[in-house]
């Protein structure tokens, strides 16, 4: 098993994808943290002022501002880790080296969760560094050890790690990598947030709470005010459980399909 995990991590780190994604999450995290910290408490476009930096939820939002991009990148990584094997037909060599396919899926899961956590750490670190600078400049309190900030940071890392598992399942179900990526990113980034917003606007936010993106938000308990619609979220542990549930179902589905499929 250790050997297979070594092989899977070599797979990830011997193509250019991984550092492209890394640069992506760090840059967006820095940019979004600076944006969130600079605009907090200000009135944009003449409307009411958004909650300020004295609100702990806003500080949590600033530090994890890159999370929305990071988890979609993690999703893409998971998709590519599986669908890419079919796209490049490396699945044949992979299965020849390890004919017991359950081991392949498990080693992919372990490797992806670890690498996903790495992207999570990079996201949070970049967000905290950039956000803290702006907050300090604006004279705000950093709250790095209080107000649920440490918990939010750790859970943000967990969220990014778990999203790779959702990607793996999508990549297993849809072997066409381009289609799988388009669908996964399209749903996660566009369709699902719109559905969540609509459900909240219709005052049935308790349904939306169980969507993957909303469960992810619940982990960091960000500032949810503004925009005229109140977004309801599960408690942090509820979000963690829901996301874990999705990952488990997705992982099991991916394994079951991979075990049966003919590789032609």
């Amino acid at each position: 098993m250790i050997r297979l995990i070594r092989s899977e991590s070599l797979k990830l780190f011997t193509t250019r994808l991984w550092w492209g994604l890394l640069i992506g999450v760090v840059l967006t995290s820095v940019a979004f943290a600076i944006l969130a910290a600079s605009t907090a408490g200000r009135s944009l476009g003449g409307g009411a002022a958004s909650p300020g930096l004295n609100d702990p939820a806003v500080v949590r939002s600033v530090y994890t501002a890159g999370l929305g991009v990071a988890y979609v990148f993690a999703l893409a990584l998971g998709v590519i880790a599986m669908a890419g094997e079919y796209r490049h037909q490396t699945m044949t060599a992979t299965v020849l080296a390890s004919p017991r396919r359950l081991r392949i899926v498990v080693s992919k899961l372990i490797t992806l969760i670890a690498v996903g956590a790495g992207y999570g750490v990079a996201t949070v670190a970049a967000g905290v560094l950039a956000g803290a600078v702006v907050i300090a400049v604006r004279g705000g309190e950093l709250r790095l050890g209080s107000d649920g900030v440490p918990r939010a940071l750790v859970l943000a890392v967990l969220a990014v790690a778990l999203w790779t598992v959702l990607g793996l399942a999508v990549g297993t179900l849809i072997r066409n990598q381009v289609l799988a990526l388009l669908l996964a990113i399209g749903i996660a980034w566009i369709a699902e947030p719109i559905v969540a917003f609509a459900l909240n606007a219709l005052n049935v936010g308790e349904v939306a709470e169980y969507l993957p993106s909303q469960a992810t938000s619940a982990l960091v308990q960000p500032s949810t005010g503004g925009g005229g619609v109140t977004i309801s979220l599960l408690p942090w542990w509820g979000g963690a459980l829901v996301l874990l549930g999705y990952a488990l179902v997705a992982g099991a589905l991916g394994a079951a399909i991979t075990l049966r499929r003919d590789i032609t």
Binding site: R3, L10, T14, T15, H88, Q89, T92, L96, A97, P99
Partner: protein
């Protein structure tokens, strides 16, 4: 066959194998065994079921029924597959953004094969200088070599190679030939698929021919080629036949033409066609090798098992005039095509061919 006495752990066996993809019967009750220490050609036209059979042997595809084993075990039950079986299935299974060396390192890691061995096999297939280039820039021939390198990683005793000569230049094909002969010489089992008999005839010892998923013939290559024979054309076939028979040679045809030199010319020209058509037996009984050739035309004698030089010497001693003297080469490719032809698609068997 040789398989009975050889190291059983190196025998590749397919028993009553059937695979259905939806309504398509890709492999149909196929059985054969491949012996170690020999190069076996796995032959058949495109779509005959060769790749499916190999993929079932490697547990990549699940058969509908039947068994395919290596040393008595299904591939998926082998405790250490890379050190037991080396497979090169297609020259396309590479990530274009990964270097050749990294591709092999990824595979080597699964069996704790050291980096030293990775460099060794890259040298073995002649890719040492391009090892750190991305595979995306590789030619078809280089990809074939890389696939072969991957197969050799674990120094396996059994090699299953699917169309390894595809995309190789003539130099590469010559190299491959020597390489496969060398591997078999070391006692390994080497199964090489191809859709062209001519491509592998200088490499293989045995052939397994399939078509439409069914076994057509399994035999040593020389059985397919038949015994060599000499064709000799003369205006006086009667006296020559007697002289050759007296010399203890096996003579066929001849005296019917008698001493009529006029008919011999046209008949002689048709010899090649006659021999070729004879392979289109189409009766399903695969009557090939000795006894399958058409009777030689008038004025032409066929002398089995004797070289043109000895036939010429007899004629010279008897003072008989010869108009043609040559070795009869069996047309292996025509044999192969006739054997594997689809009766439904080829239409009726050409007139006279079945005689």
């Amino acid at each position: 066959m040789a398989a009975a006495v050889a190291d059983p752990s190196r025998v590749v066996a397919v028993e009553h194998l059937t695979k259905r993809f939806g309504s398509v019967l890709a492999v149909d009750d196929l059985s054969f065994a491949v012996a170690p220490g020999r190069v076996t050609g796995f032959l058949g036209p495109n779509g005959a079921g060769k790749t499916t059979t190999l993929r079932i042997l490697l547990s990549l595809v699940t058969p509908s029924s039947g068994r395919a084993t290596i040393g008595g075990h299904a591939y998926r039950d082998l405790p250490d597959p890379l050190h037991t079986v080396g497979a090169a299935l297609e020259a396309t299974g590479f990530h274009s953004g990964r270097t050749a060396r990294d591709h092999l390192r990824v595979l080597a890691a699964t069996a704790a094969i050291p980096g030293r061995r990775v460099d060794e096999v890259l040298g073995l297939v002649g890719l040492a200088d391009s090892a750190r280039r991305r595979v995306g820039g590789y030619s078809m021939g280089m990809r074939q070599r890389l696939a072969l390198a991957a197969a050799m990683l674990g120094d396996p005793a059994v090699l299953l190679l699917d169309e390894p000569a595809n995309g190789l230049d003539p130099e590469g094909i010559r190299w491959l030939r020597g390489f496969l002969r060398h591997l078999a010489g070391e006692g390994r089992t080497v199964l090489v698929s191809s859709h062209m008999l001519s491509e592998v005839r200088q490499t293989v010892d045995d052939v397994v021919i399939i078509a439409r998923g069914r076994l057509i013939r399994q035999a040593p290559l020389e059985d397919l080629e038949g015994a060599p024979a000499t064709l000799v054309r003369t205006p006086t076939p009667g006296p020559l036949a007697r002289a050759l028979t007296t010399a203890g040679m096996a003579v066929e045809g001849g005296p019917a033409g008698g001493d009529q030199p006029g008919t011999a010319d046209g008949a002689g020209a048709a010899t090649g066609d006659g021999a070729g058509a004879a392979t289109g037996t189409g009766t399903g009984s695969a009557v090939l090798g000795t006894g399958s050739r058409a009777a030689p035309p008038d004025g032409v004698l066929r002398v089995r098992g004797s070289a043109p030089s000895s036939v010429g010497a007899v004629a010279h001693r008897s003072g008989i005039e010869l108009h043609e003297l040559r070795l009869e080469v069996s047309d292996l490719e025509a044999t192969f095509l006739a054997l594997t032809a689809d009766p439904d698609e080829q239409g009726p068997i050409p007139e006279g061919a079945a005689r």
